[in-house]
């Protein structure tokens, strides 16, 4: 059969204006760091330096928290309707500047433009829109008696969905009357800094949102800061545990959205072509840099061979390459460190006896790349079936009965998400009841919506983001002291 090659279809970079260096966004203005060592952020697809970014020192963290504290006095007293209007403004400006955000996100993160354009940016705007409407309706949200904000919230977010995680954190915090100091990930600070400009355009009162850039030390200083009343973190389970220890014995609240090792369970009555698409979305969306990724495929033995064949055929058509190309399915791995980690675990998988397969595809000469990879013959005890790889690597296991699928799916310290593929509605709900996971997708995967609570069981963390449940993490209730 003749095949037609895709012509390159790159999205234009001219829409973004990246500055050579960025300060910290504190009290409504960009300011130089006091004593931090600047660092560079690069494009993971080319290793080109995009900009120099400030590192927030402990002094800077102090200043940002102080600005947030000052702003809290008036922001928390502003009417809910007015807070909501600011959030509506932000949502609208994000929509207006959507293309700019999408291109910048793909440049800084390495994810395909079709994902940043169709998923990250629109859902981020939707989060602001959704929470804007809550701001003056908190009394109707069944949050308990007398819901009121905590105060200053310290937020630390990861590099896999930089703008979207920012929206998940900032929108509910502001809607409920808190003020924010947010630290984006070290490798992906640029969309957060562009968001700071959005706050300026929206005339958001100074200090309500502060964005401080830096690495782990900055995040640690923020989380441990005495002036922070609540911590919200998305990232690894190891760091989540460290945060839980840091705030132990204090009255700081926390929501932790951590790692996962989700089972994507395919029954023999499932619409298999649709399921194969769901398996691909589950683990290869965003290069597998997704905490809720369907990294363990559990397929019923009777259709295992058929699913495997269809999956391999589908993977052979995936296009790996330039994140700005509109036809790209799989972009760059976010950093060299992450690439090293993926390589290490994949090597372990081979050594433990699982069978590795990847489609033939050319990879660009520069940047950080990893072919979509499938391991078959994986058993429960293999490290690639237990540890979060956070890359485009799928482990395939099989099962015979629904009970066995449940046992295997739940055999993990994580409990963030799960997928079920079957035509039988009653089986979906029975399975969903048995699975120890905070989000269960049936005949779909990796769907997100601001109205739908997201968050995990067990070592995937605690608290929910999104929906009415997400709001409750940002308020305290009951009698005032």
């Amino acid at each position: 059969m003749p095949t037609f090659e895709y012509a390159p279809a790159p999205e234009s970079r001219s829409v973004v204006d990246i500055k050579s260096s960025y300060g910290l966004f504190i009290d409504g203005e960009f300011a130089d760091s006091r004593g931090g060592t600047p660092f560079k952020t690069i494009s993971p697809s080319t290793e080109e330096v995009l900009a120099e970014v400030s590192e927030a020192s402990t002094d800077d963290v102090d200043r940002a928290v102080a600005a947030a504290r000052t702003a809290y006095r008036s922001w928390s007293r502003l009417s809910g309707a007015d807070r909501g209007k600011y959030l509506f403004r932000i949502a609208r400006i994000m929509q207006e500047r959507a293309r700019e955000f999408a291109v910048l996100e793909s440049l800084d993160n390495g994810k395909p433009i079709k994902e940043s354009r169709d998923v990250d940016v629109p859902i981020a705007a939707a989060h602001f829109f959704y929470h804007a409407g809550w701001a003056d309706k908190l009394a109707y949200a069944s949050l308990g008696d007398n819901p009121r904000p905590h105060g200053v919230v310290g937020q630390v977010i990861p590099w896999n969905f930089p703008l979207l995680m920012l929206a998940w954190k900032i929108a509910p915090a502001l809607a409920t009357g808190n003020t924010v100091v947010l630290k984006p990930a070290e490798t992906t600070p640029l969309t957060a800094l562009l968001f700071a400009e959005v706050c300026q355009q929206a005339d958001l009162p100074p200090g309500v949102v502060n964005i401080i850039t830096g690495a782990g030390a900055t995040g640690q200083a923020l989380v441990a800061h005495e002036g922070v009343d609540k911590v919200a973190f998305t990232g690894s389970t190891a760091v989540g545990k460290a945060i839980a220890r840091t705030i132990a014995g204090t009255r700081k609240k926390a929501t932790l959205e951590l790692g996962g090792k989700a089972a994507n369970i395919v029954f023999d009555d499932a619409p298999l072509d649709q399921a194969v698409e769901g398996i691909v979305t589950g683990i290869f969306f965003n290069q597998g840099h997704v905490c809720c990724a369907g990294s363990r495929l559990l397929v019923q033995e009777t259709v295992a061979e058929e699913v495997e064949a269809k999956l391999k055929a589908r993977l052979a058509t995936l296009r790996v390459g330039d994140p700005l190309d509109k036809n790209t399915d799989i972009g760059a791995i976010n950093s060299r460190e992450q690439l090293d980690r993926i390589n290490t675990l994949v090597k372990v998988g081979e050594e433990e006896g699982a069978v590795r397969w990847s489609p033939e595809c050319e990879l660009p000469a520069n940047g950080f790349w990893f072919r979509p990879t499938v391991f078959t013959g994986v058993s429960q005890t293999h490290r690639i079936a237990q540890e979060e790889i956070f890359g485009p690597v799928l482990s395939v296991l099989t099962f015979r009965t629904p009970g066995e699928a449940v046992a295997k799916a739940n055999n993990t310290p994580y409990g963030l998400s799960a997928g079920i593929w079957t035509e039988k509605g009653s089986r979906i709900l029975w399975m969903a009841d048995q699975l120890k996971a905070g989000v269960v997708w049936a005949n779909t995967f990796n769907k997100f919506d601001p109205a739908s609570p997201f968050g995990g069981y067990k070592e995937s963390g605690y608290g929910r983001e999104g929906g009415r449940h997400g709001l409750s993490a940002y308020v305290t209730t009951g009698a005032t002291k």
């Binding site: 389970t237 545990k241 220890r245 132990a248 009255r251 779909t444 919506d449 109205a451 069981y457």
Partner: protein, 307 residues
């Protein structure tokens, strides 16, 4: 000595005293450590009340095993059924009312009237929580209007095995106020009784054993809080811990227990109070939903729609 000594007043019957034991998996074992400790009444002239079993690390671990074993059955029971089981506890307590009053009076040094009021409130608390069993999910869950062809439902589920430090002061009302909200949703519990006031807790265990609460749903350990609590806080098969009873517990720093709980990211219900200071809450007040909510997980299911 004269041969015509006065006879002592005709002795009232020598009563049969009880050996106070632990309650694990529906049975009443002694501590595997073989240890016991003396328990005295409160007040100016303490009277010896009992040699309570001094639970050990091994007892705590056995209790966790029993609680885990009981979890799926209890969580899988219908909400209506759990509500009736909780209500039955109130019935059984009512029939042992005078015993509870005497024990609470001795344990807490209360007037008879205060002890009566305490026991009444404790019985009523079971009734209150029994009524929540088939309602909290309606209040806390619901359908979410997502942008797509899905029925999206968020519903609360029990967290799993919950360890609890029962209040040190309120030996029965406080204990019930901690245990009932844990189990009403389908969690199973490992409870450390008040260190110095364990007797009403042991009697509550007897009430539970003779009601319809399945063995292992509530496990009760008496002993030294500072000795056993760290093992529960760090136990990898405990999903959550209630630190209410850290207030006034000798040699217990609740922040240390919370830090140990971080090892497997247990959900932690901190003690009341502010800063590092822990205080025992006023259990006479009507509780809110907070204690039920503290030990729930929200599960959100995306169910497809289509023809």
């Amino acid at each position: 000595m004269s041969t015509t000594t006065r006879k002592p007043a005709a002795p009232s019957r020598v009563d049969v005293r009880k050996t106070y034991k632990l309650y694990i998996g529906g049975k009443f074992p002694r501590s595997e450590s073989g240890r016991s400790y003396e328990v005295f009444s409160a007040g100016r002239s303490p009277k010896f009340l009992a040699n309570a079993a001094q639970g050990s690390r091994k007892d705590a671990r056995d209790a966790v095993v029993a609680a885990r074993k009981a979890h799926s059955g209890w969580a899988g029971a219908t909400a209506y059924n759990r509500g009736q089981v909780l209500y039955r506890v109130a019935e059984v307590m009512e029939s042992r009312r005078s015993q509870f009053v005497a024990e609470v009076q001795a344990a807490e040094g209360l007037t008879p009237a205060r002890a009566e009021a305490n026991v009444s409130a404790a019985i009523d608390r079971w009734v209150w929580y029994a009524g929540w069993s088939d309602k909290f999910a309606q209040v806390l869950g619901g359908a979410n209007p997502v942008a797509g062809p899905f029925f999206n439902l968020s519903a609360p589920e029990p967290t799993g095995v919950v360890a609890a430090l029962a209040p040190q002061g309120s030996s029965l009302l406080g204990l019930v106020s901690v245990v009932a909200p844990i189990i009403v949703s389908g969690n199973t519990a490992v409870v450390l009784a008040s260190q110095e006031r364990p007797v009403p807790a042991i009697t509550l265990a007897e009430a539970l054993a003779t009601s319809d609460v399945p063995g292992g749903v509530v496990n009760l350990i008496t002993g030294v809080t500072s000795e056993v609590a760290p093992w529960l806080a760090s136990h990898r098969d405990v999903n959550a811990i209630d630190l209410t009873g850290a207030a006034d517990a000798p040699d217990v720093v609740w922040g240390d227990l919370e830090a140990a709980a971080a090892e497997n990211l247990k959900r932690v219900l901190r003690p009341a109070g502010s800063g590092v200071t822990a205080v025992e809450p006023d259990f006479a007040r009507e509780p809110g939903l907070e204690r039920i909510e503290a030990f729930l997980e929200t599960k959100t299911v995306w169910h497809p729609k289509g023809i």
